[in-house]
């Protein structure tokens, strides 16, 4: 950490708060755009902005490794897969008429419910905890905990993903 001496603790917290709200605003606007734009490719591109915002928030928390993984997995793979699939099948330019659905009220309710549950849980768990100024999680620590403490869940997830992969191939093969 080269800048720990340059920025005083207070400055650092102010900067972190400013950027948190900046990124959060961008994310919320982009997230609303994802569900309101009339073109499906635009929606996918707004999703990139939301996911990049998540990566930025992770960096503000000092979680370099998680932020990088967020970029690699979500922006570099998941959204690219979305875009690839959309463009192979129905890549219309301009507004898409059948993109709207009548299920707005149930969707809104589900969204609000999920947000409520998440906010309540987060508030209860992290009620009075303040982030320390130095919250850099080193990659070595992440890997140590994955491959010692959480080795069983990690292996289970790996097997699950492998099974999903083989399943996808079986479903996709015609003969």
């Amino acid at each position: 950490m080269t800048h720990s001496g340059v920025l005083a603790e207070v400055d650092w917290n102010i900067a972190r708060n400013v950027f948190f709200y900046l990124f959060a605003t961008i994310q919320v606007i982009a997230a609303i755009k994802v569900v309101t734009v009339k073109n499906i490719v635009h929606a996918a591109l707004y999703l990139v902005v939301v996911l990049a915002g998540v990566a930025a928030q992770f960096i503000l928390l000092g979680a370099e490794f998680v932020a990088t993984t967020q970029i690699l997995v979500y922006i570099g793979a998941v959204v690219v897969l979305f875009l690839f699939g959309i463009m192979l099948t129905r890549a219309n330019l301009g507004a898409d008429a059948d993109l709207d659905q009548d299920n707005r009220v149930p969707a809104l309710l589900t969204g609000l419910l999920l947000a409520g549950v998440l906010v309540a849980t987060l508030l209860r768990t992290f009620e009075d905890i303040e982030f320390p100024t130095e919250t850099r999680s080193t990659t070595a620590r992440v890997s140590d905990s994955i491959f010692s403490q959480y080795i069983v869940p990690f292996e289970a997830v790996s097997v699950l993903l492998l099974a999903a992969l083989i399943g996808a191939i079986v479903v996709a093969r015609k003969e």
Partner: protein
């Protein structure tokens, strides 16, 4: 690094200087590659002289070319999706500028000393795929769309060998940090002899070869230039771009070639370190950038040598090479490296 030559710098001054150096680190290698390799080396390989008129040995040709692109009209197709069309080249360039961040050029001469280092580089290099998809789709042109779909299939396929080729180096160095990888090579020993350190090209030769092949494909250069195959797709996703925006894609391609050869130099050739000086010597802050540039020129020579030599792959051959040859080879390399790391 808050004092340079005993001058105290504040945070914003330091950041500003770093941004300027980053800009230079992206543009200068790109320009050098275009002149030395694309103009001159390619011409010599084809028994012609290349540009000779502008300046001594045509060395000012690059300025003329850039001037030409600046003057051209920025044509946007009528049915194109204008905002996406305009933004696409920037997304590709952002990926390049983020890539250069992790490249260390000396013990204290770096942009950011990221703990995730090489992992960050591989992650941000995948952002350019989105720019290419945006360009192809928004052009409202079948050739463009086909080109960008080909590019995406290719970039996804070759990202795997790229990542897996690096894993061997990471296992050997025991760190993802680019700076630490350089130190690990500089302080390494070959059977107890530390005269030239232990550049990983010796032990990770398979990894180096795989990395170069995958980089070639990531740059969509011949023989992996199916996405811009001019005999089939005009120029793929670049078809509708002209003037400045085409220039941005062009700079992006060559600058990324520069950064990737720099990364290869750091991972396999010892980065800014040369034998003879202690790896923590302050001399490397001055010498390092030049040494790194020299090694970059060597690696990029290989890249462009392949580019001008081999004919284009067919799409199915290209995918087969990635999935059936490169990835199994990379996995075998990882397994052998891991076993030897534990055993030796």
């Amino acid at each position: 690094m808050t004092s340079v030559l005993a001058v105290e710098l504040s945070y914003w001054q330091e950041t500003g200087i770093r941004m300027l150096i980053g800009l230079a680190a992206v543009l200068l290698p790109a320009g050098t590659f275009v002149y030395v390799y694309l103009f001159k080396m390619m011409s010599f390989m084809q028994s012609r002289l290349g540009p000779m008129e502008a300046g001594p040995y045509g060395s000012m040709q690059l300025l003329a070319e850039v001037g030409k692109f600046f003057q051209k009209e920025d044509v946007i197709p009528e049915r194109a999706d204008r905002p996406v069309f305009k933004m696409a080249p920037f997304v590709v360039l952002v990926s390049t500028f983020l890539l250069v961040l992790v490249l260390p050029a000396g013990p204290d001469a770096y942009f950011v000393d990221l703990d995730v280092g090489i992992f960050f580089a591989l992650a941000v290099s995948s952002i350019s795929v989105i720019g290419i998809l945006m360009a192809g789709w928004s052009s409202a042109n079948k050739y463009s769309l086909l080109g960008s779909l080909r590019a995406t299939g290719q970039l996804i396929a070759y990202e795997l060998p790229l990542v897996l080729a690096v894993v061997g180096v990471v296992i050997q160095a025991g760190t993802l940090n680019m700076q630490q990888i350089v130190f690990a090579q500089a302080d390494g020993e070959i059977f107890g002899w530390g005269g030239i350190g232990n550049p990983y090209i010796l032990t990770q030769f398979v990894g180096f070869a795989l990395f170069l092949i995958a980089v070639q494909a990531e740059l969509t250069q011949p023989p992996f230039d199916m996405p811009v195959a001019e005999s089939e797709l005009v120029t793929g996703y670049l078809t509708e771009y002209s003037g400045m925006r085409f220039l941005m894609f062009f700079i992006g391609e060559f600058a990324t070639a520069g950064v990737f050869s720099g990364i290869a130099a750091v991972l396999f050739l010892g980065g800014w370190w040369v034998p003879g000086l202690d790896s923590s010597s302050d001399w490397f802050n001055v010498l390092g950038p030049a040494v790194l540039f020299g090694k970059m020129m060597f690696v990029s020579f290989l890249i462009f040598w392949f580019r001008f030599t081999y004919p284009r792959f067919r799409e199915d051959q290209l995918q087969k090479l990635a999935w059936k040859v490169l990835i199994p080879l990379a996995l075998a390399n990882i397994a052998v490296t891991a076993v030897l790391k534990v055993a030796v």
